[in-house]
Amino acid sequence: MSNIFDIFRKESKKSYPSTVSTKDSVNGRDILLEVRDVDVFFGAGKHTVKACNSLNFKIYTGETFGLVGESGSGKTTISRAILGINKLTNGAIYFKGEKITGKLTKKESLAVKSKIQMIFQDPAASLNERANVDYIISEGLYNFKMYENTDDRLHKVTDMLHKVSLLPEHLSRYPHEFSGGQRQRIGIARALIIEPELVLADEPISSLDVSIRAQVLNLLKKLQRDNDLTYLFVAHDLSIIKYISDRVAVMNDGYIVELGNANDIYSNPIHPYTKSLLTAIPQPDPRTKNDRKKLVYNRQSINYEECEYLEVSDSRFVLGTPELIKQWTTKQ
């Protein structure tokens, strides 16, 4: 019965300005993407699934922002919300200071699409099986009319193929003729050929063979250097996030529980969920492995709805209450 009165308790919907500043007032860095108070709920009434709850983060130009968390923590949901595939329940998302959520004209949403691209998790499912590589990679060029004539288009496509270490003779082949790593590189080429500024990599290597993960990761790093890309890198593998990210947000149950520089988080985790995640990283050395103490996180011990984001040190945020954080930082 208590649910009935929820509607009265709910705060009136906040309104969000259509443009915001692109300079961070604290450290003066350029903000490429800003996520403000984003809620994404699925379903309605009793069966509401709260996939993302009041998410707040900024992605600075040129960095790699890692998003890590277990399955079902809302990582993919937020990255799809940025693309406009999942609709926001509350909040707003800004790209280069412009609001990209809510009502957009066709032209505006197309302009956003040309600047934000996605690399998908499963290269086998995300490539059109009945189209050849030429069409798959050219698709974005066709959509945004980014070529002068056929020669120019083919030139761009072969150039892109070379960048991802594929051969021009692959153009007439179909996706299922390639290996997993090659397919993922086709997916990367498709996303990058329209020269986006922000690339959302949704677990781009988790469905790949371990032996070629490094190859694809290094390719992503190289492309970032060459093309000044900004990545939002979603993964559930902490060691990979550590390798590639500058800043990391740890997600659990639809909340960001900890956010900060990758090194800080790895050397000094504060939130118990982060701690338990870090102890779960497999260790290749048998001597240290045996010393490792595995922490089990008790989700029931903390009520996220009562917590808020607290800045514990410079640009380091933890979801908690002052008492809890005191408890976490002192208890070692």
């Binding site: 699409k113 040309s114 059109n128 959509n143 692959h170 003729e177």
Partner: protein, 336 residues
């Protein structure tokens, strides 16, 4: 086994390995000569040696390999040959009324006998079959093209669902034959000058397209949420190209299968309508009209009904067999 036989296969006998000692008795073993340094070429490892896969080539290969497909191809060729060649060699006057020749049993002049107004049944049946198959092919292609187009739109734009579902209920809940009759009657009253064939095609198309549309809509719904369509949407691909490039190629095999099963259905619908007198007029030469005539004196001259009925059965059997064999061949999972 004799040891001597093995000696000639020993590595010592091959020139490249002459200085290599297998048993370790000779001292001068140059290990470096065994190995050659190969430079790593990143691009060389990307080459695909397998011949490019072609969907239609493997469809053909799978199709030809099936025995039932072979039967279907042979009977289809025979059928096509029959409906094209036999009507061309119709002797003068064999398709005209002649009361003197009526109700003849099969003999050397009239191979299958004559009907109750004295027309030769052999040539009548095959001429009628040509007309029936022609009408069925035209109607089926119309139905499939219209049905596929609307089905794709219906499946892609979910907002249109309520409208199409009501339309579907409206059309599909009336018995098909009743609907054909009604449409045919309405059309004949509204456009008296319209040829009976055109009327037949229009009424069959109106009554059947929504079934195909619903089928395509269901198939579209299955694949429309796959990730590769999502990828196209994030790339900003317009809906029209998503439908033609992402959805249609995936649906092509089911569409072809569906078409090959619709054709025999259309033949029997045409026959049924002509039989009940709302299709082609009974003086027109079609299988339905022949069946209608043959029925009248079935007890006295059963062959007048059996001839067109036999040919009709053969046609429908052939198309069904062809369709079923094609269904298997078009499924890429069965290609290896």
């Amino acid at each position: 086994m004799n040891k001597r036989n093995w000696d000639k296969f020993s590595l010592k006998n091959f020139s490249e390995f002459k200085d290599v000692d297998i048993d370790g008795q000779n001292s001068a073993v140059n290990e470096d000569s065994l190995f050659k340094f190969v430079e790593l070429d990143e691009f060389k490892s990307e080459v695909i040696k397998v011949e490019p896969y072609s969907y239609w080539k493997s469809v053909m290969r799978t199709f030809i390999r099936k025995p039932s497909a072979l039967i279907a191809i042979i009977s289809m060729l025979l059928l096509l040959l029959a409906i094209i060649v036999i009507p061309m060699f119709t002797p003068e006057g064999f398709l005209d009324f002649s009361i003197a020749d009526k109700d003849l049993p099969p003999d050397s002049v009239h191979l299958w006998g004559t009907d109750l107004v004295g027309r030769d049944l052999f040539f009548m049946t095959w001429t009628g079959a040509r007309k029936s198959i022609g009408l069925a092919l035209i109607t089926s292609s119309l139905v499939v093209v219209i049905g596929t187009g609307f089905g794709l739109i219906w499946g892609f734009y979910r907002k249109l669902d309520p409208i199409f579902i009501e339309l579907y209920n409206l059309i599909a809940n009336i018995p098909a034959l009743l609907l054909y009759m009604l449409l045919s009657y309405v059309l004949s009253q509204a456009f008296p000058a319209m040829a009976a064939e055109v009327r037949l095609i229009i009424s069959l198309t109106i009554a059947s397209w929504i079934g195909v549309a619903r089928f395509i809509r269901n198939q579209t719904l299955i694949i429309t949420n796959r990730e590769y369509n999502l990828a196209s949407k994030t790339l900003g691909t317009p809906p029209a190209r998503i439908m033609t490039k992402n959805l249609l190629p995936y649906l092509l095999s089911v569409i072809i299968t569906q078409t090959s099963l619709i054709i025999p259905g259309m033949i029997s619908s045409e026959v049924a309508m002509s039989f009940f007198g709302v299709g082609l007029p009974s003086n027109a030469i079609s299988l339905g009209a022949l069946l209608d005539l043959g029925r009248q004196k079935f007890e006295l001259y059963p062959f007048q009904l059996l001839a067109p009925a036999g040919v009709l059965s053969f046609i429908i059997f052939t198309f069904f067999l062809f369709g079923l064999a094609l269904t298997d061949a078009l499924d890429p999972k069965k290609h290896r």
